[in-house]
């Protein structure tokens, strides 16, 4: 298991290198001059200040050297300062990451708590009313954009019924109840698509496993259908489900950009959107880097989970 994970870790090194290249290239292409952005509109005609700022930001150096300096500083934990607010990027990220992680975690829990049991029931009773309802829910869930779900929920629960706040994040320190009330609508909006995809996958893979010969043998031994599913089918059926959840983590993080913007959440997603609109390139580099690393770490965890569930993978 350790060797398998070490091999996966080694594989991530070139990928992380290329991720940094892509981030650097994109932010280099961003229109607008970062030195001018740092100086502000008041000093736009001050040539000496402009040249000093370019030097300070390293913009007078060749691009490959700028890249190497950025990576070097990033490895030491220095991601620069925001062009807009002048705060340290790492500090801003550290303050906002917990909000996004909590939002993503609650969305994941909501999605899985519904998706897995419903998927199992659907597969155990194909073409039953539960199965039909679940299929309609799954097919619709995939087709609904997160921001439209968010708007519908705001209208229903905040404007019409007035039972939940329309926007804003209440930290956990202010009380669990208030925190969950503030996070419920954004988490449902974010988790709906994941719920739909996971439900479909759980149903499809369990249906496939239930047609295997060893399941027929288990049934022939006289085991109840519940025991057949629980003891024999479920573990094998869950392998493709883990793959799908792992693949959807990126979508979950991506979705926070629009959901945190709608619900005015002070998280990484909103920071990403703001840094794009304000051409805050050091902040954008930092946010995108952390999000990409988070996706890679989740991929690694998915691989570890695979190896745990399926011994064939770790011994291959």
């Amino acid at each position: 298991m350790a060797r398998y994970l070490a091999r996966r870790l080694l594989y991530f090194i070139p990928v992380i290198f290329l991720v940094t290249v892509v981030i650097f290239a994109i932010t280099m292409l961003l229109p607008g001059d970062p030195a001018l952005a740092f100086l502000g509109e008041g000093n736009i005609h001050d040539k000496v200040a402009y040249e000093t700022m370019r030097k300070e930001l390293g913009l007078d150096r060749p691009i490959p050297l700028q890249y190497a300096l950025w990576v070097g500083r990033a490895l030491r934990g220095d991601l620069g300062r925001s062009v807009r607010t002048h705060e340290a990027v790492l500090g801003a990220l550290a303050a906002r990451l917990p909000v996004t992680l909590e939002l993503a975690a609650v969305a994941l829990v909501i999605a899985l708590v519904i998706a897995i049991p419903v998927g199992i029931i659907s597969a155990a009773r194909p073409n039953s009313p539960v199965d039909t309802a679940a299929t309609v829910m799954a097919v619709s869930g995939v087709a609904l954009p997160e921001f439209f779900v968010g708007i519908l929920l705001i209208y229903l629960f905040a404007v019409w019924l007035r039972v939940l706040p329309p926007s804003g994040f209440v930290p956990l320190s202010a009380g669990l109840g208030a925190n969950l009330r503030s996070i419920l609508m954004p988490a449902i909006s974010l988790g709906l698509a994941l719920n739909a995809v996971t439900m479909r996958q759980a149903r499809a893979s369990l249906l496939e496993v239930l047609q295997e010969e060893y399941i027929t043998v288990a049934r022939a031994k006289g085991l109840s259908e519940g025991a057949v599913i629980r003891v024999h089918a479920l573990k094998n059926a869950m392998i493709p489900v883990i793959t799908v959840i792992g693949l959807q983590i990126g979508r979950l993080f991506g979705g926070t950009v629009v959901i945190e913007t709608i619900f005015a959440f002070p998280g990484m997603g909103r920071l990403a959107a703001d840094s794009i609109f304000f051409r805050d390139f050091p902040m954008l580099q930092g946010v995108v880097l952390v999000m990409a690393l988070a996706v890679l770490i989740c991929n690694l965890l998915t691989d570890a989970l695979y190896a745990y569930v399926d011994p064939r993978i770790r011994y291959a």
Binding site: P14, V15, L18, V19, V21, V22, I23, I26, T27, M28, L29, L30, P31, P126, V139, S140, V142, A143, L144, P145, E146, F147, F148, I151, L152, I154, Y155, V159, A204, L207, E208, Q211, G250, R251, L252, F253, G254, G255, V257, V258, T261, I262, A272, A273, I276, F277, R279, L284, V287, V288, M291, A292, V295, L296, N299
Partner: protein, 300 residues
């Protein structure tokens, strides 16, 4: 196997003339109510997009009545915050959705297929380098990468489509590489190589026709996703070219008036939902029709 062989693969080896086989194949695709619904939705959206100038009741960018009017006889879907006809804007928004879906996925297919074919056929270090690059692109959350690329390219629908195309490239590159790797080892490929077929001929005449059907299925499933990403980008206000309408930007504007005019959000949202739903169902129908294993099992 040649391009004609590829069509044969696509049509699942059904006997008869080419048109007859195409009809049989289509009948197989629309066997379920879902994919039939999907086909109707696709046809409707295409017709609306193509004939927008003829069927829209008003100029979508002109104020034609009082602001925020509810659905009425003169304005079927009401008017927006500037007194523009919502139905006309919805009709013209279909053009953006169709363009965004088709062009961005077309670009992703072109880039992804080229990368996948070269990586899968050449193998070795070329494969390693290209696939690590694909993995790096895959590591980014789709929306974040699309936002960042679109922002760096500047505003405009064309740049948004390029951004979405680049973001969707890894899905096609991985798919085609996997197929190319397996096709490369098959007997007909070895025979073609023995007869002196060069790399370009091998890729275009022998491997490409064999990867065609998974690409068609993948494209049908990616187009609705591209429509959602485009709508999200315009909802966030990234590529807006005022006053031209897109479903995402209509939702962005409608959201500001959710208390006074909730129906305004409903129409563009329902347009995105039904288009994406229809295309997803059609994609599923195509997948089942092209996959003999799924068809025989009948469980999907």
């Amino acid at each position: 196997m040649t391009a004609r062989g590829g069509l044969r693969t696509l049509l699942g080896g059904v006997p008869g003339s080419q048109w007859g086989r195409l009809a049989t194949f289509l009948a197989r695709v629309i066997r379920t109510r879902g994919s039939l619904f999907g086909l109707w939705v696709l046809a409707l959206v295409l017709v609306v997009a193509v004939t927008a100038t003829l069927i829209a009741p008003y100029n979508p960018n002109r104020t034609i009545g009082a602001i925020l009017q509810g659905p009425a006889w003169s304005y079927w879907l009401g008017t927006d915050h500037l007194g523009r006809d919502v139905l006309s804007r919805l009709v013209f928004g279909a053009r953006v959705a169709v363009l965004a879906g088709a062009v961005s996925v077309g670009l992703a297919v072109a880039l992804g297929v080229s990368i996948g074919l070269v990586a899968g056929y050449r193998g070795g270090w070329v494969d390693d380098v290209l696939m690590r690059l694909v993995d790096a692109l895959w590591a980014f959350p789709t929306l974040v990468l699309a936002l960042a690329i679109a922002a760096s390219l500047g505003p405009g629908l064309s740049n948004a489509m390029v951004a979405i195309g680049v973001v969707f490239t890894p899905a096609f590159a991985r798919l085609v590489r996997g197929q190319a790797l397996s096709v490369r080892e098959r007997e007909f490929a070895t025979a073609a190589r023995a007869l002196g077929a060069g790399p370009l001929r091998m890729m275009l005449r022998h491997i490409w026709p064999n990867v065609l059907s998974p690409i068609i299925v993948q494209s049908t499933l990616m187009i609705p996703q591209a429509i959602i990403v485009e709508a999200t980008l315009s909802f966030l206000g990234l590529w807006i070219e005022p006053p031209n309408p897109s479903w995402g930007s209509m939702l962005r504007q409608a959201y500001q008036y959710i208390e006074r005019a909730p129906w305004l959000s409903l129409f563009p949202g329902a347009a995105i939902f039904s288009t994406v739903l229809g295309l997803n169902l059609l994609g599923d129908g195509l997948r089942v029709a092209l996959d003999v294993r799924l068809r025989q099992r009948g469980t999907v």
